[in-house]
């Protein structure tokens, strides 16, 4: 009987009930119908206990750090740095767009922040150089998905917390897939640039000029080194590393670059707080949901059902990627992870898939979903920044999505791609 909470939850989602309420309403109704009213208190307690967590605090901190860096003109320096190294290539600004996204990913971990920060700067610049607006918006949206793949990553922190994984292991496992997406996009740009005669962005910089650009970008580029170095070196916990990233971003924005004023701080804190509050409530609700998932034996039933389809793990991984991709088309990555992680994770881990490997497949696939039509979040952000229609960007992004789908399948079927670094550093088995 209790298992019916899953279809009921899906109905709630489909008709537009906010995920937070759906995560509580569907199990709550089934508990009531099942005569388990007392367990409603358990739902509430798990909602509260789910939020009362020190590791979870990394989410508001990383959001705050990204917000400060965004305001502090750090994006501008990253673009200058990218231009110094890649601007002279054919299709230079498109390459600069992708490289800047990879660098920005090491600071913020948010595809939305990436699209709005880089898009507002690079889309007009690309248009001025003769690129179509739809192409500029599409490459900005496509490359922004690297944000939550290369560490730090908001959605990986959520996955790690909900599923009890190591944040450090997930961060490390995301490094190679993130770089693969970036390099894949650049290779496609190269092919397109040769075929459609894309412009070069600038003359070739001398090594002296490149050194100067690197020096200017030195402080922002040090952020991922501090975060990852601190976590891997055992100096900080991920939460403390995130707080240090906030302090570092504040110091360089307020005192070194002097690109942000103290009077802007309340607005920055407020924005990070508002966004975090929604995510934290969702995570709390996910912990309640997870309780009912366990009580209903849903993962076992799901595993039994999936094994009736096929016992071949390669085909199962293909099917799960298909499912995640479809879900990603309609739902943002964070809520999708919160909903599907507790249901699918135990099934595949039980079948022998490494838990960190499964986490990366899920995170990368759902992150790419942020750029897939019809509901891809970054398509809407790119549309708002560029003024181009969502449907037009959705068509223009298809070749780039193809590259990202290839990367998803590569990391699915070649676990060593994502697992080698966490294994070598002792963060995964």
């Amino acid at each position: 009987m209790l298992i019916w909470f899953l279809p009921l939850f899906l109905v709630f989602l489909m008709i537009g009930l906010p995920v937070f309420f759906g995560l509580l309403a569907a199990p709550g109704i089934l508990l009531l119908l099942n005569g388990q009213e007392r367990d409603l208190t358990l739902l509430y307690r798990n909602l509260y206990n789910g939020m009362d967590s020190f590791p979870l605090m990394a989410i508001p901190f990383f959001m705050l750090a990204g917000e400060i860096m965004n305001r502090g003109g750090i994006t501008h320096r990253l673009v200058e740095f990218s231009q110094a190294f890649m601007g002279h290539l054919r299709g230079g600004l498109a390459h600069v767009n992708v490289l800047s996204s990879m660098l920005f990913a090491g600071l913020s971990g948010s595809a939305v922040a990436d699209t709005s920060a880089l898009g507002s700067m690079l889309i007009p610049a690309m248009e001025k150089q003769g690129y179509t607006r739809k192409f500029a918006a599409a490459i900005t949206a496509a490359s922004s998905v690297i944000g939550p793949i290369i560490p730090p990553s908001g959605i990986m922190i959520i996955y790690a917390y909900v599923m009890g994984e190591s944040v450090a292991a997930l961060f490390l496992a995301g490094l190679v897939p993130g770089v693969m997406v970036g390099v894949g996009l650049m290779l496609l740009i190269k092919v397109m640039a040769d075929r459609y005669d894309f412009p070069v962005a600038s003359r070739k910089y001398s090594w002296g000029e490149r050194g100067q650009a690197s020096l200017k970008a030195f402080f922002p580029l040090m952020t991922p080194v501090i975060i990852l170095g601190g976590i891997l070196g055992g100096v900080f916990t991920p939460t403390e590393a995130a707080a240090v990233a906030v302090a570092y971003a504040l110091i360089i924005s307020l005192f070194v670059l002097r690109s942000m004023r103290v009077s802007e701080l309340p607005d920055v804190l407020g924005k990070a707080g508002l966004t975090s509050a929604v995510v934290l409530l969702l995570v709390g609700a996910a912990m309640s949901f997870k309780t009912v998932v366990s009580l209903s034996h849903a993962p076992q039933m799901m595993a039994d059902y999936i094994l009736t389809l096929t016992e071949n793990p390669l085909i199962l991984l293909f099917l799960i990627n298909l499912l995640l991709f479809v879900v990603g088309m309609f739902l943002d990555a964070g809520p999708a992870i919160i909903i599907l992680g507790p249901i699918l994770g135990p099934v595949f881990i039980g079948m022998g898939v490494d838990s960190v490997h499964f986490a990366i497949i899920m995170c990368v696939n759902l992150t790419v979903g942020l750029a897939t039509p019809p509901m891809g979040l970054v398509l809407f952000v790119a549309s708002a920044v560029s003024g181009e229609r969502v449907s037009t960007i959705a068509k223009a992004i298809l070749p780039f999505l193809a590259v990202e789908i290839v990367v998803i399948f590569l990391i699915t079927y070649f676990p060593a791609l994502s697992m080698t670094i966490p294994r070598l550093t002792g963060f995964a088995n």
């Binding site: 309420f21 939550p148 908001g154 959520i158 939460t239 707080g273 508002l274 995510v279 964070g334």
Partner: protein, 195 residues
């Protein structure tokens, strides 16, 4: 209609003020979270002596930040939902569906507020926090150990505020269904997820 209009404006005014105060406290809470976590890093790694209270103080602030700021996000449409179906429906039908969804949300919140009150005033709330004390004398000679209920109240207060916002949204929907007049808009701002 006049009574309905007045009720909506009253509730809207109350929410405006309460949520503004909530956001202010939330901003302060975020700042304190960062400060105490950094203080802990400094004490642990520089002074080699970790303090007992910063972790719990930071969690205290995070819970209150969530409770006080989430209602603003809800009011601004920042709660994640798949809105394909409502967006494809005619205005009136979409309003009716929205009303139904708000009723479901309200039911969840009403159950939550009842359980929340029992939790805050019950046995669990009477336990003391592990490390949080506040001074009760100017010369810091007397201290009061903060009860867990002070932390637990954060989500209870958040649910109460969510109910107020939900009621306002229900009234706005009813107004749209029954009148062609425009309502004063809600400041939508921008909220996004962890993506």
């Amino acid at each position: 209609m006049v009574l309905f209009d007045g009720l909506l404006r009253l509730l809207s005014g109350i929410n405006d003020r309460l949520l503004m105060v909530g956001r202010g406290i939330g901003i302060f809470a975020v700042a304190v979270m960062v400060a105490v976590t950094l203080l802990q890093v400094f004490c642990r790694y520089v002074l080699g002596n970790a303090l007992p209270w910063p972790d719990e103080a930071a969690r205290f602030c995070m819970l209150w930040m969530t409770g006080l700021m989430a209602p603003t996000a809800f009011r601004r449409g920042g709660f994640v939902a798949i809105d394909v179906l409502p967006s494809m429906m005619p205005r009136r039908a979409a309003s009716l569906l929205n009303l139904l969804l708000l009723m479901v949300s309200l039911a969840v919140l009403v159950v939550a507020v009842q359980i929340g009150w029992k939790e805050v005033t019950g046995l669990g709330g009477r336990f003391a926090s592990a490390s949080l004390y506040i001074p009760t004398a100017v010369d810091f000679s007397a201290w009061y150990r903060v009860p867990r209920s002070w932390m637990m109240a954060s989500i209870f207060v958040g649910v109460v505020l969510l109910i107020l916002v939900n009621l306002e949204l229900i009234l706005r929907n009813l107004f749209q269904l029954t009148s062609d007049r425009d309502l004063p808009p809600i400041d939508m701002g921008q909220t996004q997820g962890a993506e």
